[in-house]
Amino acid sequence: MKRLFITLALAAALPAFGQETIKIGLVTALSGQSARAGEALTRGLQVAIDEINAKGGVLNGRKIELVRRDDEATPAKGVIAARELYFKEKVAVLFGGLDSPVALAIVPIANENKLPFMDPWAAGTPITKNGAKDNYVFRVSAVDELVDKAMLQYAQKTFNAKNCGMILVNNPWGESNEKGLRAAVSEKGAKAAGIEKFEPNDIDVVPQLSRLKSQGADCLFLVGNVGPSSQVVKSLDRMGWMPPIVSHWGPAGGRFTELAGPSAKNVHFVQTYSFFGRQSAVGDKVLKALMAKYPDVKGAGDVTPAVGVANAYDAMMLTALAIEKAGSTSGTAIRDGYYKIDRYDGLIKTYTKPFGPQQHDALNENDYVWAQFIDNQIVPVGMKQ
């Protein structure tokens, strides 16, 4: 009898123990070649969630909880994970998309079911510009077509380049950037020396590069993940040719210096954030939180890849504001909540009206920073020798 009473009392007390948590989902690569990047997204989200929960959560004290699933960098697995998180775990907002193909596969699920999807990494232009009438996809990250514009701008300004050649990996990502770079170049009335593709597994890119050289290229636009990018650098070394290299952020995804050798530092690539150098108050706070929570983080150099942490942190903070504005966890209300955000002093920048019905990307080409590898660290260009 006494036991029954205790059970009943416990059951009655449980709901009051704490209101139901709000679940935030994350679908990303947690294993394999991109596992570090997936871990960076996790850390950015977790630090933001800890901060939000410490301040009392959202919607009058409801705590936020992170639920993660591994997509192994494959779209099919990503779709299964996204469905599970949306429909079984009932996450209020799904974060995900480290790889553009995975993100693109999740986009229709989000839009058809009116469930918000936040992309903190994948840069494919059509992820947010997906043509859906009711668009539930948002992004706090770089966007290919803007990166392409920024790459041209940087090459012209920094290297006074007039005639850049493109060396692009032969896959949909390379394709998307070929389009973007062509558009950027013709918009500026400039011209490209040539466009060459290489396979992700190519060992020798010398033939492609010597073709670009003979076409008079005075700089190179490079698009490829860390492995393929390193093949380009090593091939240039073998040719004894050292043009300025302006790159998308592929090299940031791995041990670029180990793979590409001493010339790795010649590659200048785009990033959205760096924890090196003078930090804003938010930067200091996030770095301290990371160091307190993760024993392997002893300084700015250990926050890698920094873009993952920074994008995820800001995206989570913006999402919390959107939920607060929505007043509920309904998908449509949160979507409209994103539109109602006025101002947020974030890590990457101060966001003013970051989202609107026609504006689903919070970052633009003015928010990018240029970085290079010095030894094994990604640092802003010119900060270290």
Binding site: N201, V206, P207, Q208, G227, G254, R255
Partner: protein, 289 residues
């Protein structure tokens, strides 16, 4: 431009040739091949990296040990994926060798990791200028080593007792058996040799490429095209076909652009085989009834 394309082509071509020699050796002795030669190549690179970088051995013993392990892998391929099927007249070794290759690739994926690793050799980076073309030590040493291995194979099969025994198996396995030649042993030796060639190619290509479990996949496929193109029955033909394939591939890229490389190279392979069904240097097999 043509100069550096030629050097690139020679380097890659001799690697295709080395892998294709592996197809030739086993095909000649047993009319079977290890379709997953690409995996054997990857194992050579991964073993050499493990001994040399992770365990800190000097390069030469590391490479030697890697080749020994490759030979052991070759024996396993023969014992597990070829003999059980070929001995019963089944062609299932086709699939079994592919399957064993996939198992090897995935085992490496789990143990070595998915992240590609760099395997730099200090001497390989040295470079010089020859007639206005930049040439690195590695680019020179790859074709030299490739051709040297092909020459050693030639010498072994013509001048040594074991080589002659293998040639006898090639000509007539039954007659060889009656002459007291251990045919199963000769076939095992051929498989070990074939994976050693592939492993050597892997070790040489590793500093040029990155070491990862997927290193050999495309290479293995191209090498098979090369073996058929060369006419799988001639050692020098196979090596030469490798060089031709590599050079044609690089020249097409350099002269016409990378958009055309794969389309044109493989079109040329089909055209060549249509015109010369036994390969560029092969002979028609006589089937006596």
């Amino acid at each position: 431009m043509i100069g550096s394309a030629l050097i690139s082509g020679l380097g890659l071509g001799s690697m295709y040739g080395l892998l294709a020699l592996g197809f030739y050796v086993t095909y000649a002795v047993s009319s079977t091949v290890n379709f997953a030669q690409g995996s054997s190549m990857m194992l050579g690179a991964v073993f050499a990296y493990t001994f040399s970088v992770r365990l800190g051995w000097p390069f030469v013993p590391a490479a030697a040990m890697a080749l020994v392990l490759c030979a052991v892998y070759g024996l396993l391929v023969e014992l597990l994926a070829v003999r059980p099927f070929a001995s019963r007249g089944s062609n299932a070794w086709l699939m079994a060798t592919v399957a064993l290759g996939i198992i090897a690739d995935n085992t490496v994926l789990f143990t070595f990791g998915k992240e590609p690793r760099g395997f730099a050799l200090p001497w390989a980076a040295a470079s010089t200028n020859v007639l206005g073309v930049h040439v690195s030590a590695l680019q020179v040493s790859i074709p030299v080593a490739g051709l040297a291995l092909a020459a050693i194979l030639h010498w072994f099969s013509r001048k040594t007792k074991h080589g002659k025994a293998m040639l006898a198996v090639v000509q007539n396995a039954d007659a060889a058996r009656l002459m007291g030649i251990n045919v199963p042993l000769a076939i095992m030796a051929a498989y070990a040799m074939s994976t050693v060639f592939a492993g050597a190619a892997g070790i040489m290509i590793a500093p040029l490429a990155n070491v990862h479990s997927d290193l050999g996949t495309v290479f293995g496929l191209k090498a098979f095209a090369v073996a058929i193109l060369g006419g799988i029955t001639s050692a020098w033909g196979v090596m030469l076909a490798g060089l031709i394939f590599g050079i044609v591939e690089s020249l097409i890229t350099a002269l016409l652009g990378s958009a055309y490389t794969q389309i044109l190279t493989f079109t040329l392979v089909i055209v060549a085989l249509a015109l010369m069904p036994h390969g560029l240097f092969g002979r028609a097999e006589l089937k006596k009834v």
